[in-house]
């Protein structure tokens, strides 16, 4: 007998769902404090190995955005893509939800907070949960 499949899994492994509120975790270089979301071989700033996990803040400000009208198949449009400077450190790219996809409604510098959404469900009924930001 195998274990029951999980009820939900994160869309990417740097989104943590099972430790309090959903939040992002980054690999922080012990040498320079540089932050990364991927599996690391070394710190691209110093060239040195050595990382610890760091929980990032769920709030930040928009650094830049675009509104995508022509997208990859299966992706509903238009949607807002943003680059967010997180409070306390870290830069992340995600969608901006709960806002009109209109250039007059989005601006660099606007405060945002983390939210989550359902990205899909597999044949076991497992839900893939993604993260995004919304106006704070």
């Amino acid at each position: 007998m195998t274990d029951a499949p999980p009820a939900r899994v994160p869309l990417v492994d740097y989104l943590v769902l099972d430790d309090g509120d959903p939040h992002l975790v980054a690999n922080e270089s012990t040498e320079t404090g540089a932050l990364y979301f991927d599996r690391r071989n070394a710190d691209a700033k110093s060239g040195r190995p050595g990382f610890k996990q760091r929980r990032l803040e769920n709030t930040g400000t928009v650094r830049t955005f675009t509104i995508v009208h022509r997208a990859a198949p299966g992706v509903p449009t238009p949607y807002v893509s943003v680059v967010v400077d997180l409070d306390g450190g870290g830069v992340v790219k995600a969608n901006l939800l709960n806002v009109e996809p209109d250039p007059d409604q989005v601006r660099a510098g606007m405060p945002v907070r983390l939210t989550t959404f359902t990205a899909g469900t597999d044949d076991n009924g497992t839900e893939a949960v993604g993260f995004a930001y919304e106006p704070a």
């Binding site: 979301f37 700033k45 060239g47 675009t66 400077d85 899909g120």
Partner: protein
């Protein structure tokens, strides 16, 4: 013994075998870091990177390695040459040292010949179940779900970052870039498209990723370009006609993207362009104000506008004012993309970096026909590939 003899001071390899749990970047990083340690040097001591790989040859393998082991902005040469690929990477570093452009360099050859799937089928059935895969443990494609990394959107975000930081830059200024390049292309018989559009037509075209409309994006297409270059010593032996038409390469610079806090999330096209341009101006002794024409990388209209600033063609922060005042038009203070640019001339990917040199050289030779920039003596070319790599050249019509 010559000053530019080349010596090996560090060497390493991974055990060869099957690595189901390591991708090509893991393997290349391991070997690279071990070689640097063996030589008792760091990535910061390297002036050039030669990276050889076949199966992921178009993926910017050198830059992907840098993003793990050290983004120092050095030139990266990604090479593919069948089974001689690794030796070709070594040759790149060897030639750079021989030429006096590098004191030290890292050459790496790597391959991961297996395949990793994205959506795995469960062992017991043909069900599709989520399986984390890749360096981010993704269970499906994140494109469009965690923002966009497709080109129109990436370059839109790059342009909008500039617009957010500086006054006088908005949709209209970006659209004016495309209006200019489409107009310029009507004089270029070699351009893929040779049709002018009004500003209203540019802004009213189908929106791809705000603010880039269809007419503000380069097309896909096919083509090629080639150059023949000789040494000064060789040129002296050639005919009067060959010498008369010769164009001097006064600067040739390659850079990669140095580490910044956001670069691995949203590619930064500014840092490495500025670094390449500044080095090219220094190498050639040419000032941006001396340039008679520029062919820069307008893959999207948003890209061209921020490169006015990156290439120092305008005052810092004033790219919007520069296009509003028609500075980069063919009759302006610094003609930019009189060929029609990538937007209208086209962008067969591998050809563009040679085609812009063809264009500037043709003007410097006085052979550009209807689109000739009168009296052109000095030109600059700029090309940038995401991942990233930037090359800037300065050409001059000098007495040969």
């Amino acid at each position: 013994m010559a000053e530019n003899d080349v010596w090996i001071i560090g060497a390493a390899m991974t055990k060869f075998g099957r690595y189901l749990d390591k991708d090509v970047i893991d393997l290349a990083s391991e070997a690279s870091m071990a070689a640097l340690d063996d030589g008792d040097v760091s990535i910061y001591d390297m002036d050039v990177l030669g990276a050889g790989n076949l199966m992921e040859a178009a993926s910017g393998i050198g830059q992907r390695i840098q993003k793990q082991i050290g983004q120092t902005g050095i030139p990266v040469y990604n090479v593919a040459n069948a089974c001689a690929t690794g030796a070709t990477a070594v040759r790149c570093v060897f030639l750079a040292i021989k030429a006096g452009e590098a004191d030290a360099g890292l050459a790496v050859g790597c391959e991961q010949m297996g395949k990793a799937g994205l959506l795995g089928a469960s062992a017991r059935s043909d069900k599709q179940v989520y399986e984390p895969s890749g360096r981010y443990g993704a269970v499906m494609s994140v494109e469009g779900r965690l923002g966009t990394t497709l080109m129109p959107g990436v370059f839109a975000q790059a342009g909008m970052e500039y617009a957010g930081r500086h006054d006088g830059v908005g949709f209209e200024q970006f659209a004016k870039v495309a209006e200019k390049n489409h107009a310029h292309s009507t004089l270029n018989p070699l351009a893929q498209y040779q049709k002018a559009f009004s500003l209203e037509e540019v802004m009213g075209a189908d929106m791809m990723a705000y603010p880039n409309t269809l007419l503000m994006c380069c097309p896909t297409g096919d083509g090629a370009a080639a150059l023949v270059m000789v040494s000064e010593a060789k040129l002296r032996t050639l005919s009067d006609e060959q010498r008369r038409r010769a164009v001097k390469v006064s600067a040739s610079v390659m850079t990669s993207d140095p580490w910044t806090d956001a670069d691995q999330v949203q590619p930064d096209v500014n840092t490495l362009t500025r670094a390449a341009a500044d080095r090219a101006y220094e190498q050639s002794g040419v000032d941006p104000k001396d340039l008679d024409l520029v062919e820069l990388h307008d893959c999207f209209a948003t890209a061209e506008l921020i490169h006015y600033d990156n290439l120092r063609l305008c005052e810092p922060g004033e790219a919007g004012k520069f296009i509003d005042e028609r500075g980069p038009w063919r009759d302006g203070s610094t003609p930019v993309n009189v060929s029609g640019g990538l937007i209208s001339k086209g962008h067969p990917l591998g050809a563009t970096g040679v085609a812009n040199l063809y264009e500037v050289a043709t003007h410097l030779r006085g052979e550009a026909g209807d689109r000739q920039v009168d009296g052109a003596k000095v030109g600059l070319t700029h090309v940038i590939g995401l991942g990233s790599a930037c090359a800037v050249h300065v050409l001059e019509k000098a007495a040969a």
